[in-house]
């Protein structure tokens, strides 16, 4: 583990802590190597309602019935153990696990009629963030890659200037299940240049850049500009094998650009936030990740995907408690997942609103599918692609509405099904990628807008 600079931070108990920019020992592959610069995206973003998009990716498939679409009148084997509470939206109830979100339902919309076509995680995950199946290929681009390309269309060929990439992943890694990662994580047909730039965020707000694994002597303190960076690379070249340095090449330079750019470093530094703000998100990896997402949006990053977990599995050695609650669905939602999500989502919503950012920021929360309405013989819920939910706020979306309806058991939509392709098309449209631009990029083909949101 390498520390890239340190920032003094007051802890929640009033003492001083050190927060670090860290690099991990894992470099899965090149991420965000050729993403266009933030300067390049500025012109495009002026035209969009959503200057930034924050997608809270609830990886694993959260249970719609146990959260925002309860069925208290359904039979015992469907309805689950949780009571329901009224929300601020007339006639709409949540389960008792989401009191904060219920109290703020006038600030966002709920879609209860989402539907997808794959019942496996990697497949549904790819559909969820690209709109299309993984096979037959080629794999289509992540919604974030589309927006990244649109915002940087004219500047792609130029050398990236030191600035923030336009497409970030906040999380421990690329979403995956035990066998493999999702294919739709990045650029897809647009190319690896539009892969996301991955940053991690600990429950203490320590931001890490997994892409960087090298050069133990480097730190923002030592490297204040590109000249220093190149000088340091020269020094390291003597120490390290040349071919290894070559491998790092462009990818790592992009990452180093972040460390030598004051705006980027500032965005990563959660200690710039008041202790009250940091606490309000909750000291969890997801909560602090949401705070980081807000800072990145504030800095002008067009697309930030906050991943709930790297691994989909909810209760597995080395797993980080995804939403795939084949066991302990009710216990884990009650004990861990819903309290964390309820707090982080509500705080992010309030924070964006309080700062006047909500009008220009699109906030979306969804997973790849829902969970079986019928409770399993292990007292949990399995995968259910036929009906699930998503949450939408900001960027001109009229809040306080429940869009779509599921049947009495939560098995199928009884209104028009809303698909991930429609979600992606709507996200793109709100982010300024209109039909013509989508056609020119050959993305989101056949996608229609979620009119009810607009």
């Amino acid at each position: 583990m390498i520390d890239f600079g340190s920032f003094r931070a007051a802890s929640c108990s009033g003492k001083t802590r050190r927060s670090f920019l860290k690099t991990s020992s894992i470099v899965p592959f090149a991420l965000g190597a050729g993403l266009p610069s933030l300067q390049a995206v500025e012109q495009a973003r002026q035209k969009a309602k959503a200057k930034s998009v924050i997608l809270l990716w609830l990886w694993g498939g959260p249970s719609h019935i146990d959260m925002v679409d309860p069925k208290p009148d359904a039979a015992m084997e469907y309805r689950g153990p949780f009571g329901t509470i009224a929300t601020k939206t007339p006639g709409m109830h949540y389960t008792e696990l989401l009191p904060r979100m219920a109290a703020r339902s006038d600030k966002y919309c709920v879609i209860r009629s989402m539907q997808t076509t794959d019942s496996g995680h990697p497949g549904a995950g790819t559909i969820g963030v690209t709109g299309f199946k993984e096979s037959p290929g080629p794999v289509q681009p992540n919604f974030g890659a589309i927006i990244a390309k649109h915002r940087g269309q004219d500047e792609l060929a130029t050398t990236p200037s030191s600035s923030l990439p336009p497409f970030f992943y906040v999380g421990r890694g690329i979403p995956r299940d035990l066998p493999r990662r999702i294919e739709g994580y990045g650029g897809g047909t647009l190319g690896k240049a539009y892969d996301p730039f991955l940053v991690s965020c600990s429950d203490r707000g320590e931001v890490g850049i997994p892409t960087l694994k090298m050069l133990p002597n480097m730190s923002p303190k030592r490297i204040s500009n590109r000249k220093d960076l190149l000088s340091e690379l020269d020094v390291e070249q003597h120490r390290l094998e040349k071919n290894l340095l070559g491998q790092w090449g462009h990818t790592y330079q992009s990452a180093f650009d972040l460390l030598t750019d004051a705006k980027a470093r500032d965005a990563f530094d959660l200690t710039k936030e008041s202790p009250k703000t940091r606490r309000s998100y909750g000291h969890t990896t997801f909560g602090q990740g949401c705070l980081l997402a807000r800072r990145l949006a504030q800095a002008g990053v067009p697309y930030i995907q906050v991943n709930w977990s790297e691994y989909v599995e909810t209760f597995t050695p080395n797993g980080d408690f995804g939403w795939d609650t084949h066991i302990y669905n009710f216990e884990l939602l009650q004990d861990r997942h819903c309290p964390i999500f309820d707090r982080a989502f509500s705080t992010l919503l309030d924070d964006l609103d309080d700062r006047g950012m909500l009008e220009e920021t699109l906030l979306v929360a969804m997973g790849e599918f829902g969970r079986t309405p019928q409770i399993s013989n292990r007292a949990a819920r399995e995968h259910w692609q036929h009906c699930y939910f998503s949450l939408w706020a900001g960027a001109g979306i009229e809040p306080g509405r429940c869009i779509g309806q599921s049947d009495s058991k939560g098995e199928h939509p009884v209104t028009r099904p809303i698909t991930p392709l429609m979600a992606g098309t709507t996200i793109a449209e709100l982010a300024g990628v209109g039909a013509q631009q989508r056609a020119e990029m050959k993305v989101l083909d056949g996608g229609s807008l979620i009119d009810e949101l607009l």
């Binding site: 689950g80 949780f82 000291h283 209760f315 980080d320 949990a380």
Partner: protein, 304 residues
């Protein structure tokens, strides 16, 4: 006990030091026992209140069981051999010889572990095929039987087994989810939660399943009941006032009082052996720590 001497997060609050923490309805301020803020669960006193066991998120992908010395507040790992297996929901026999807990053993799978802390003989397990896992094991006061929750082939029920993990018997045959067993000190009745009335309510029954009585009536959850060591009261968690708070009622379900009032979460109540204090996990300003609350005489906020 197989503990290592590994020191983790520093504890800044000295034993006996009283911090003023808002959000409590009782007369005495709670004592804050930890300050690392990490996600915690399942505190339980052992060794006549001299030690406190709990589980916490050591990393985002690992839940470890810890042991705190209540005099020095030193914290050590409970088991050196945990590997990468999450450990949850520890319980200890009244004679202090045995512990049982839930252990994650594989992908979406957990088992019940029963360990003899005095002898090094192999632990006993309750395992099963496929996905799933046991929950919330406890010992009966005679230290001869373990009661736990498990969904064998349908609704989650209470089961019992002996210390070798054998002689399994199904104790409840109810609709809904049954969970969180706790036994009265005389060993005659088991208290638990069940969801058949559209949300979790607390019930009491004889160990043979007879004479079931409903103790709570509320449209929101009443969960995690814990019988006081003197057998007179039950602590539990409810969302009836808007979020997770801790309540205390008489053993027959009467005289319900709310003992925490924070707008943040209070959960996992367990009694001190003196029956006058409750340890719980309190979320304050986004951090999770252990608190010890004196509820001796002057519970002041009546519950809904």
């Amino acid at each position: 006990m197989n503990c290592c001497k590994h020191w983790i997060n520093p504890i800044i609050v000295c034993a006996g030091m009283i911090l003023s923490v808002s959000g409590f309805a009782c007369g005495a301020d709670p004592q804050q026992l930890t300050d690392d803020g990490a996600n915690k669960r399942d505190p339980i006193f052992v060794e006549e209140g001299k030690s406190l066991i709990y589980c916490y998120d050591e990393t985002p992908d690992f839940v470890r069981m810890m042991k705190m010395n209540m005099e020095t507040l030193e914290i050590v790992e409970m088991f050196e051999d945990a590997g990468n297996h999450h450990h949850y929901e520890p319980a200890f026999s009244a004679d202090g010889r045995y512990t049982c807990y839930t252990e994650c053993t594989g992908n979406l799978t957990a088992r019940l572990v029963i360990r003899d802390l005095q002898n090094e003989k192999p632990a006993a397990f309750i395992t099963h095929s496929g996905r799933g896992g046991t929950r919330n094991p406890i010992f009966t006061p005679d230290s001869k039987t373990v009661i736990y929750a498990f969904a064998e082939t349908g609704p989650q029920q209470l089961w019992s087994c002996n210390l070798e993990g054998k002689n399994k018997k199904q104790m409840t045959h109810s609709e809904g989810i049954t969970n969180w067993p706790t036994v009265t000190p005389d060993g005659k009745r088991v208290i638990f939660s069940n969801s058949r009335e559209n949300n979790y309510e607390i019930y009491s029954m004889n160990l043979d399943g007879s004479d079931e009585k409903r103790l709570t009536t509320n449209r929101l959850m009443d969960v995690r009941p814990a019988v006081s060591p003197d057998g007179k009261r039950i602590a539990f968690v409810s969302t009836r006032d808007g979020n997770y708070d801790i309540y205390v009622m008489n053993i027959d379900g009467s005289n319900v009082h709310r003992i925490t009032t924070s707008e943040e979460r209070d959960d996992y109540p367990r009694w001190h052996p003196n029956s006058q204090q409750i340890v719980f996990v309190g979320e304050r300003e986004g951090e999770f720590n252990l608190y010890l609350l004196d509820i001796a005489d002057d519970i002041s906020v009546a519950a809904k």
